[in-house]
Protein backbone atom coordinates (compact mmCIF):
# COMPACT_ATOMS: atom_id res chain seq x y z
CA UNK A 1 0.00 0.00 0.00
CA UNK A 2 3.01 2.25 0.43
CA UNK A 3 3.66 3.91 -2.93
CA UNK A 4 7.43 4.27 -2.70
CA UNK A 5 10.16 2.81 -0.51
CA UNK A 6 11.99 6.17 -0.50
CA UNK A 7 9.86 9.27 0.03
CA UNK A 8 10.71 12.21 0.36
CA UNK A 9 14.36 11.19 0.52
CA UNK A 10 13.77 8.93 3.53
CA UNK A 11 13.10 5.19 3.58
CA UNK A 12 9.50 4.25 4.30
CA UNK A 13 10.33 0.55 4.67
CA UNK A 14 10.39 0.77 8.46
CA UNK A 15 7.22 1.52 10.41
CA UNK A 16 9.15 3.58 12.94
CA UNK A 17 10.30 6.00 10.23
CA UNK A 18 6.78 6.22 8.81
CA UNK A 19 5.38 7.09 12.22
CA UNK A 20 7.92 9.87 12.59
CA UNK A 21 6.88 11.20 9.18
CA UNK A 22 3.22 11.13 10.21
CA UNK A 23 3.94 12.94 13.48
CA UNK A 24 5.96 15.56 11.58
CA UNK A 25 3.17 16.01 9.04
CA UNK A 26 0.47 16.53 11.67
CA UNK A 27 2.67 18.86 13.70
CA UNK A 28 3.22 20.95 10.56
CA UNK A 29 -0.50 20.93 9.71
CA UNK A 30 -1.44 22.06 13.22
CA UNK A 31 1.16 24.81 13.10
CA UNK A 32 0.02 25.97 9.68
CA UNK A 33 -3.68 25.90 10.57
CA UNK A 34 -3.03 27.61 13.88
CA UNK A 35 -0.93 30.37 12.33
CA UNK A 36 -2.65 30.82 8.98
CA UNK A 37 -6.30 30.93 10.01
CA UNK A 38 -6.24 34.11 12.15
CA UNK A 39 -4.22 35.94 9.49
CA UNK A 40 -6.33 34.81 6.54
CA UNK A 41 -9.70 35.35 8.14
CA UNK A 42 -8.81 38.79 9.53
CA UNK A 43 -7.23 39.90 6.28
CA UNK A 44 -8.78 38.09 3.27
CA UNK A 45 -5.93 39.49 1.17
CA UNK A 46 -2.57 38.85 2.83
CA UNK A 47 0.43 40.61 1.25
CA UNK A 48 -1.60 40.87 -1.96
CA UNK A 49 -2.29 37.14 -2.03
CA UNK A 50 -5.89 36.10 -1.77
CA UNK A 51 -7.06 33.77 0.98
CA UNK A 52 -7.93 30.97 -1.42
CA UNK A 53 -4.20 30.57 -2.16
CA UNK A 54 -3.66 29.72 1.49
CA UNK A 55 -6.63 27.36 1.44
CA UNK A 56 -5.23 25.65 -1.67
CA UNK A 57 -1.88 25.38 0.10
CA UNK A 58 -3.43 23.50 2.99
CA UNK A 59 -5.49 21.25 0.72
CA UNK A 60 -2.40 20.68 -1.47
CA UNK A 61 -0.46 19.72 1.62
CA UNK A 62 -2.78 16.76 2.14
CA UNK A 63 -1.44 15.35 -1.15
CA UNK A 64 1.85 14.69 0.66
CA UNK A 65 0.44 11.56 2.28
CA UNK A 66 -1.07 10.44 -1.04
CA UNK A 67 -4.24 8.39 -1.33
CA UNK A 68 -6.26 10.98 -3.22
CA UNK A 69 -3.90 10.87 -6.19
CA UNK A 70 -0.51 9.51 -7.21
CA UNK A 71 2.72 11.02 -5.94
CA UNK A 72 2.20 10.75 -2.18
CA UNK A 73 3.43 8.25 0.37
CA UNK A 74 0.35 6.01 0.03
CA UNK A 75 -0.89 4.54 -3.25
CA UNK A 76 -3.91 6.23 -4.88
CA UNK A 77 -7.06 4.77 -3.29
CA UNK A 78 -8.87 4.53 -6.62
CA UNK A 79 -6.03 2.54 -8.15
CA UNK A 80 -5.73 5.02 -11.03
CA UNK A 81 -4.66 8.60 -11.59
CA UNK A 82 -6.89 11.61 -10.98
CA UNK A 83 -6.26 12.86 -14.53
CA UNK A 84 -7.71 9.68 -15.96
CA UNK A 85 -10.76 10.00 -13.76
CA UNK A 86 -11.41 13.59 -14.76
CA UNK A 87 -10.91 13.75 -18.51
CA UNK A 88 -11.61 11.05 -21.08
CA UNK A 89 -8.66 10.80 -23.54
CA UNK A 90 -9.05 12.72 -26.79
CA UNK A 91 -7.21 10.92 -29.57
CA UNK A 92 -8.79 12.83 -32.49
CA UNK A 93 -5.80 15.15 -33.18
CA UNK A 94 -3.03 12.63 -32.56
CA UNK A 95 -0.99 10.40 -34.86
CA UNK A 96 -1.14 6.63 -34.49
CA UNK A 97 2.33 6.61 -32.88
CA UNK A 98 1.30 9.22 -30.33
CA UNK A 99 -1.84 7.29 -29.49
CA UNK A 100 0.22 4.10 -29.06
CA UNK A 101 2.71 5.92 -26.82
CA UNK A 102 -0.11 7.45 -24.78
CA UNK A 103 -1.82 4.07 -24.32
CA UNK A 104 1.49 2.47 -23.30
CA UNK A 105 2.17 5.25 -20.77
CA UNK A 106 -1.36 4.88 -19.43
CA UNK A 107 -0.98 1.12 -19.04
CA UNK A 108 2.33 1.62 -17.24
CA UNK A 109 0.77 4.20 -14.89
CA UNK A 110 -2.20 1.89 -14.26
CA UNK A 111 0.18 -0.95 -13.43
CA UNK A 112 2.23 1.18 -11.05
CA UNK A 113 -0.71 2.40 -9.00
CA UNK A 114 -2.92 -0.68 -9.23
CA UNK A 115 -4.28 -2.00 -5.93
CA UNK A 116 -4.16 -5.73 -5.31
CA UNK A 117 -6.44 -7.65 -2.93
CA UNK A 118 -4.42 -6.83 0.19
CA UNK A 119 -4.23 -3.13 -0.73
CA UNK A 120 -7.98 -3.02 -1.31
CA UNK A 121 -8.68 -4.68 2.05
CA UNK A 122 -6.29 -2.32 3.79
CA UNK A 123 -7.83 0.74 2.12
CA UNK A 124 -11.35 -0.33 3.10
CA UNK A 125 -10.30 -1.08 6.68
CA UNK A 126 -8.56 2.31 7.00
CA UNK A 127 -11.63 4.13 5.70
CA UNK A 128 -13.87 2.22 8.09
CA UNK A 129 -11.66 3.09 11.07
CA UNK A 130 -11.52 6.74 9.97
CA UNK A 131 -15.31 6.79 9.58
CA UNK A 132 -15.85 5.33 13.06
CA UNK A 133 -13.43 7.87 14.54
CA UNK A 134 -15.16 10.78 12.80
CA UNK A 135 -18.61 9.51 13.76
CA UNK A 136 -17.67 9.25 17.43
CA UNK A 137 -15.92 12.63 17.33
CA UNK A 138 -18.97 14.27 15.72
CA UNK A 139 -21.22 12.80 18.42
CA UNK A 140 -18.88 14.01 21.16
CA UNK A 141 -18.63 17.53 19.68
CA UNK A 142 -22.40 17.89 19.20
CA UNK A 143 -23.03 16.56 22.71
CA UNK A 144 -20.46 18.99 24.15
CA UNK A 145 -21.93 21.95 22.23
CA UNK A 146 -25.44 21.22 23.48
CA UNK A 147 -24.19 20.69 27.03
CA UNK A 148 -22.19 23.91 26.89
CA UNK A 149 -25.19 25.95 25.81
CA UNK A 150 -25.47 28.20 22.76
CA UNK A 151 -24.87 31.59 24.53
CA UNK A 152 -21.46 30.43 25.78
CA UNK A 153 -20.38 29.41 22.25
CA UNK A 154 -19.65 33.03 21.32
CA UNK A 155 -16.55 32.79 23.52
CA UNK A 156 -15.24 30.01 21.27
CA UNK A 157 -15.69 32.08 18.11
CA UNK A 158 -11.91 32.34 17.62
CA UNK A 159 -11.72 28.54 17.28
CA UNK A 160 -14.19 28.33 14.42
CA UNK A 161 -11.82 28.80 11.45
CA UNK A 162 -8.91 26.72 12.75
CA UNK A 163 -11.32 23.88 13.55
CA UNK A 164 -12.94 24.14 10.14
CA UNK A 165 -9.57 23.90 8.38
CA UNK A 166 -8.42 21.10 10.64
CA UNK A 167 -11.61 19.19 9.86
CA UNK A 168 -10.83 19.54 6.16
CA UNK A 169 -7.33 18.13 6.61
CA UNK A 170 -8.57 15.32 8.86
CA UNK A 171 -11.20 14.31 6.30
CA UNK A 172 -8.60 14.27 3.52
CA UNK A 173 -5.74 12.54 5.34
CA UNK A 174 -7.01 10.37 8.19
CA UNK A 175 -7.16 7.04 6.24
CA UNK A 176 -3.66 7.63 4.82
CA UNK A 177 -2.38 8.39 8.32
CA UNK A 178 -3.87 5.16 9.66
CA UNK A 179 -2.27 3.16 6.85
CA UNK A 180 1.17 4.71 7.33
CA UNK A 181 0.91 4.25 11.10
CA UNK A 182 -0.18 0.62 11.12
CA UNK A 183 1.47 -0.95 8.06
CA UNK A 184 4.24 -3.38 9.17
CA UNK A 185 7.85 -3.16 8.01
CA UNK A 186 8.31 -3.79 4.29
CA UNK A 187 10.47 -6.46 2.66
CA UNK A 188 12.84 -5.85 -0.25
CA UNK A 189 11.56 -6.88 -3.73
CA UNK A 190 14.49 -9.33 -4.25
Amino acid sequence: MIEKRIFPGISLARRKTRRRLVVGYWAFVLLLVGCASPIVFKHPTVFGVRAWVCINLIVGLTGFLGGNDRGGAVRAFQGRTAGERRTPPDYSFMTVEDVAAKIEAKEQAEKECRLDERDTNLRNAAHFKAYVFMRKSAFFVIFALIALGIPRLSRLEFLREPLLWLLLVVFLSLPQTLILWTEPDMEAPE
Partner: protein, 97 residues
Protein backbone atom coordinates in the same frame (compact mmCIF):
# COMPACT_ATOMS: atom_id res chain seq x y z
CA UNK B 1 14.08 -20.20 5.49
CA UNK B 2 10.69 -21.57 6.45
CA UNK B 3 10.20 -18.52 8.57
CA UNK B 4 6.56 -18.81 9.56
CA UNK B 5 6.82 -22.38 10.83
CA UNK B 6 9.71 -21.46 13.11
CA UNK B 7 8.64 -18.04 14.34
CA UNK B 8 4.89 -18.54 14.43
CA UNK B 9 2.14 -17.89 11.96
CA UNK B 10 2.09 -14.09 12.17
CA UNK B 11 -1.14 -12.11 12.23
CA UNK B 12 -2.93 -14.40 9.77
CA UNK B 13 -2.77 -17.53 11.92
CA UNK B 14 -1.56 -19.50 8.89
CA UNK B 15 1.81 -21.16 8.40
CA UNK B 16 3.20 -21.23 4.87
CA UNK B 17 6.10 -22.44 2.77
CA UNK B 18 6.21 -19.66 0.20
CA UNK B 19 9.69 -18.48 1.17
CA UNK B 20 11.11 -22.03 0.91
CA UNK B 21 9.43 -22.72 -2.42
CA UNK B 22 10.56 -19.39 -3.79
CA UNK B 23 14.15 -19.94 -2.66
CA UNK B 24 14.18 -23.47 -4.12
CA UNK B 25 13.19 -22.13 -7.50
CA UNK B 26 15.39 -19.03 -7.25
CA UNK B 27 12.51 -16.63 -7.82
CA UNK B 28 12.53 -13.08 -6.48
CA UNK B 29 9.54 -11.61 -4.63
CA UNK B 30 9.02 -9.24 -7.53
CA UNK B 31 8.95 -12.08 -10.08
CA UNK B 32 6.46 -14.07 -8.00
CA UNK B 33 4.36 -10.96 -7.46
CA UNK B 34 4.28 -10.28 -11.21
CA UNK B 35 3.20 -13.87 -11.87
CA UNK B 36 0.46 -13.62 -9.23
CA UNK B 37 -0.60 -10.14 -10.35
CA UNK B 38 -0.08 -8.61 -6.89
CA UNK B 39 2.38 -6.10 -5.43
CA UNK B 40 5.69 -7.50 -4.18
CA UNK B 41 4.93 -6.19 -0.69
CA UNK B 42 1.97 -8.59 -0.55
CA UNK B 43 4.33 -11.53 -1.16
CA UNK B 44 6.49 -10.34 1.76
CA UNK B 45 3.45 -10.11 4.05
CA UNK B 46 2.29 -13.58 2.90
CA UNK B 47 5.70 -15.09 3.64
CA UNK B 48 5.76 -13.63 7.12
CA UNK B 49 2.22 -14.84 7.77
CA UNK B 50 0.96 -11.29 8.24
CA UNK B 51 -1.70 -11.66 5.56
CA UNK B 52 -4.23 -14.41 4.78
CA UNK B 53 -4.58 -14.71 1.00
CA UNK B 54 -7.91 -15.00 -0.76
CA UNK B 55 -8.86 -18.43 -2.07
CA UNK B 56 -8.10 -17.20 -5.59
CA UNK B 57 -4.57 -16.15 -4.66
CA UNK B 58 -3.95 -19.34 -2.66
CA UNK B 59 -5.00 -21.50 -5.62
CA UNK B 60 -2.93 -19.35 -8.00
CA UNK B 61 0.12 -19.95 -5.80
CA UNK B 62 -0.65 -23.66 -5.81
CA UNK B 63 -0.88 -23.69 -9.59
CA UNK B 64 2.31 -21.66 -9.93
CA UNK B 65 4.37 -23.98 -7.71
CA UNK B 66 2.61 -27.12 -9.00
CA UNK B 67 1.53 -28.10 -5.50
CA UNK B 68 -1.79 -28.51 -3.68
CA UNK B 69 -2.84 -25.60 -1.49
CA UNK B 70 -2.38 -27.66 1.69
CA UNK B 71 1.29 -28.17 0.78
CA UNK B 72 1.79 -24.39 0.84
CA UNK B 73 -0.53 -23.27 3.65
CA UNK B 74 -1.35 -24.97 6.92
CA UNK B 75 -2.93 -24.17 10.27
CA UNK B 76 -0.30 -26.40 11.92
CA UNK B 77 3.46 -25.79 11.83
CA UNK B 78 5.14 -27.53 8.86
CA UNK B 79 7.77 -30.21 9.33
CA UNK B 80 11.04 -29.33 7.59
CA UNK B 81 10.87 -30.47 3.93
CA UNK B 82 13.97 -32.65 4.29
CA UNK B 83 12.34 -34.50 7.18
CA UNK B 84 9.13 -34.97 5.22
CA UNK B 85 10.96 -36.31 2.15
CA UNK B 86 13.52 -38.58 3.81
CA UNK B 87 11.80 -39.30 7.15
CA UNK B 88 13.63 -39.43 10.47
CA UNK B 89 16.71 -41.65 10.73
CA UNK B 90 17.73 -43.22 14.01
CA UNK B 91 21.10 -41.99 15.08
CA UNK B 92 23.83 -44.23 16.60
CA UNK B 93 23.20 -42.78 20.04
CA UNK B 94 19.48 -43.58 19.84
CA UNK B 95 20.16 -47.18 18.70
CA UNK B 96 22.36 -48.03 21.71
CA UNK B 97 20.36 -49.46 24.64
Amino acid sequence: MNSTSEKGPGESGLYNRIAVLRAERGISRQALADAMDVNYQTIGFLERGDYSPSLKLAFSLGEYFGLPVEAIFSKQPFQPLSQQVYGTRTTEAERQP
